[in-house]
């Protein structure tokens, strides 16, 4: 009897840990990008590596949680939803990890007029991820808080669209940069926008799942 309660607590802990890992990766990404734009590549590489490790850890945790949910026949009603949430949040983390690797590999060069704006884009996109983590947590613990977090995600996603568009317009208006470099930079702007986009998708799912759960 008590082992059932213990197991439940353990699984709750695992889910929390999984979300913590995503949050930590998002913060590391931001920090790494700051170093990158400042030109401190050593520090950037350290952060990049850490994000990669976190991504692997999140994958393991996710699998463990999913197995437990199915093996112990927990949450028969919400199981599918929970599974989708975990997978999709993990996808966001994967994109974050892939993006930082791309930076490390391709080392795009940002014109100084843009780098400030680009840091702004990094901030809002990753803030969307942070809010996404808060949303998923709220889905598990406090349904009433879901709405506020989803609203914030939506705001940050729109903001990332706006900043991204501004950067691209500015970039393609400039005549002293090669088209190839323009396109290269644009690719990275799109990466960042995708992160926010995917985070918003998770938020949208949570909204629907919440309605389902409100008895």
């Amino acid at each position: 009897m008590f082992s059932v309660f213990r197991k439940t607590k353990e699984l709750e802990g695992k889910i929390d840990e999984f979300l913590n890992v995503i949050l930590e990766a998002a913060l590391e990404f931001k920090q790494g990008m700051k170093y990158y734009l400042e030109g401190d590549f050593d520090e950037f590489e350290k952060r990049s590596e850490h994000v990669d490790q976190l991504e692997g850890r999140a994958d393991r945790l996710r699998r463990e949680i999913e197995n437990k949910l199915y093996m112990e026949m927990l949450l028969p009603e919400a199981r599918g939803d929970v599974l989708a949430l975990l997978e999709n949040s993990d996808d966001v983390l994967n994109i974050v990890a892939d993006t930082i690797v791309e930076f490390s590999v391709e080392k795009p060069e940002f014109p100084p007029e843009i780098s400030n704006h680009f840091m702004g884009l990094v901030d809002v996109s990753l803030e969307a991820v942070e809010e996404m983590v808060a949303t998923v947590r709220a889905y598990f613990k406090d349904l009433t808080a879901v709405r506020d977090h989803v609203t914030k995600i939506m705001f940050f996603e729109k903001e990332s669209d706006k900043i991204g568009e501004r950067i691209k317009r500015f970039l393609f208006d400039k005549s002293d940069i090669d088209l190839s470099r323009k396109i290269h930079i644009r690719t990275f702007v799109t990466y960042l926008q995708t992160i926010a986009d995917k985070a918003e998708d998770v938020g949208d799912r949570v909204s629907i799942y919440t309605i389902k759960r409100l008895m």
Binding site: T8, E12, L74, L75, A78, F140, K141, T144, M215
Partner: protein, 507 residues
């Protein structure tokens, strides 16, 4: 032979288990929150416990409606009800065992010429309306309360899942107990008067009265129904009929269980009386309809009755009429066949006669009418004819007529102290009560009231108390004890030869 007669009751019990267990565990199993194995075990155990421990209250009321007094009759009445239930289930109509059995009993009343106890009938029929409404009110309140408290407590989804499962099992157990307590009357109620079982003692620890033994067997039949067939019904309830979240289902089952419980619990009645609150009649109600009430309560709590399917409501309403009517008609014709084609006795005729003794008794009760003198000495072969004659020839009020009918009903009771030692449990009857009974050894009574008067004269504890709310449970208990005496000391063959009996009594 006894078992053959009981078979129709067992069939009815089986169909109750197959259908109504789903009202308790349907959503839990349908949504896979509780495994069927667990649900079936818990439901079976608690249905049986409820039937044996608390089944008497509702069965008493049903017995008043028509005390089917021959096994052949009980068999046919239960069969008619079971046929109605399975037929209507086949047609996909919402059906309730309660309504079927009530209709079938009234069919027996008509066939045997016994009088329909309109008080009991009104009581029963009104609860059909009250119970879903009450369940709706309960589930409305519980839903609001639960939603509010879940917002305040902020429980983790996984913990909620675990707690919901545990609650589904716990409340399911309570629901099964209530179902057994309330609905065993439907299954075995018609066999109570003609009960073939003696009291038994199990290993010297536990004594089961004949009635409890009957209920135990009925409970087992319900359990068999749960194990053999309810899975299918549960899957439909959980996934098709009404989609409820596990928590909403929990609230519905809880409300339903409370309603079934309050219509069955004698203990609760005592408590209400002690607290000076209005009491609730102990009557078998329909669990299926209580569930529908509960779902409607939730729909209202969720905001407006838009979600309510009014077609379901009309169908339930028709169920109140069609089910008892069908069962009554089937019962009437089946009894006719049993009696005339299979030559089985389906009722003990209850004759009525206004003898000198009755006349005097009525006089002493201040019931006087020239018509009674005219009827004196005339034998009536059944209650209905007697009532008709009283209505035509006297100017008595209907209350007085009922009293005359009660007093003039012939019985044949012979007190035997050996039988008393064997069949009257000292745990139930007090020492003084038993002593009084035994002191009447060898006496013969042609009327129930004569025995009652004789005992009341001998012993304080055989006297009814004044009819106040507070005294009602005491009086009902005493009434049940008297019924037990009549059952134990009745010489049934003699009741038919009432002419002989008259001589014996000296008229």
């Amino acid at each position: 032979m006894t078992w053959f007669y009981l078979a129709s009751g067992l069939f009815l019990g089986w169909s109750l288990g197959a259908n109504d267990a789903a009202n308790v565990f349907g959503t839990a199993v349908g949504t896979k929150m509780v495994r069927f194995k667990v649900a079936a075990m818990v439901a079976s155990i608690f249905v049986i416990l409820g039937a044996v421990i608390s089944g008497a209250g509702a069965a008493h009321t049903l017995g008043k409606l028509g005390s089917v007094n021959a096994l052949g009759g009980s068999f046919t009445v239960a069969l008619a009800a079971a046929l109605t239930v399975s037929w209507m289930t086949k047609l996909g109509l919402p059906v309730s065992t309660t309504q079927a059995i009530v209709g079938a009993i009234v069919g027996w009343d008509f066939f045997s010429g016994a009088l329909v106890d309109t008080d009991a009938l009104t009581k029963i029929v009104s609860t059909w309306v009250i119970s879903p409404v009450l369940t709706a009110i309960f589930s409305f309140l519980f839903f609001k309360l639960t939603r509010w408290s879940l917002r305040v407590i902020k429980m983790h989804l996984l913990e909620m899942d675990l707690n919901t499962r545990l609650a589904l099992i716990l409340i399911g157990a309570f629901g099964a107990y209530s179902l057994g307590a309330n609905n065993i009357a439907n299954v075995m109620g018609v066999f109570v008067t003609a009960n073939p079982f003696p009291d038994v003692n199990i290993l010297g620890i536990l004594t089961l009265s004949g009635k409890q033994l009957l209920f135990l067997i009925g409970g087992i039949a319900i359990a068999v129904g749960i194990y053999s067939y309810s899975y299918r019904v549960m899957k439909t309830v959980g996934s098709d009929l009404f989609k409820l979240s596990p928590i909403a289902a929990l609230i519905v089952v809880f409300s339903e269980s409370i309603v079934l419980f309050i219509f069955a619990s004698q203990k609760l009645e005592h408590l209400l009386i002690r607290l000076n609150l209005p009491t609730i009649p102990l009557v078998p109600v329909s669990s299926s309809q209580a569930v529908v009430g509960g779902v409607i309560g939730i729909a209202f709590a969720r905001g407006g009755g838009r979600a309510i399917n009014f077609r379901v409501l009309t169908r339930i309403f028709w169920g109140w009429i069609v089910t008892p009517l069908t069962a009554g008609v089937i019962s009437f014709f089946a009894l006719f066949f049993m009696q005339n084609v299979f030559q089985q006795k389906v009722y003990e005729p209850i004759p009525y006669v206004i003898s000198e003794a009755v006349y005097e008794k009525l006089n002493s009760m201040d019931i006087r009418d020239p018509g009674l003198g005219v009827l004196k000495g005339k034998v009536f072969r059944n209650g209905r004819r007697f009532k008709k004659a009283l209505k035509n020839l006297t100017k008595l009020s209907s209350r007085e007529i009922n009293e005359v009918i009660r007093i003039a009903e012939i019985d044949s009771l012979k007190i035997d102290s050996t039988v008393a030692n064997e069949k009257l449990s000292p745990h139930w009857f007090t020492y003084a009560q038993l002593k009084a009974v035994k002191s009447l050894h060898g006496r013969i009574f042609a009327y129930k009231w004569q025995l009652q008067d004789a005992l009341a004269a001998l012993c304080e504890e055989w006297r009814f108390k004044e009819d106040t709310r507070r005294n009602r449970p005491y009086n009902r208990e005493l009434e049940m004890k008297y019924e037990k005496l009549f059952e134990v000391f009745r010489i049934s063959k003699m009741r038919e030869r009432y002419d002989e009996l008259h001589e014996l009594m000296g008229f």
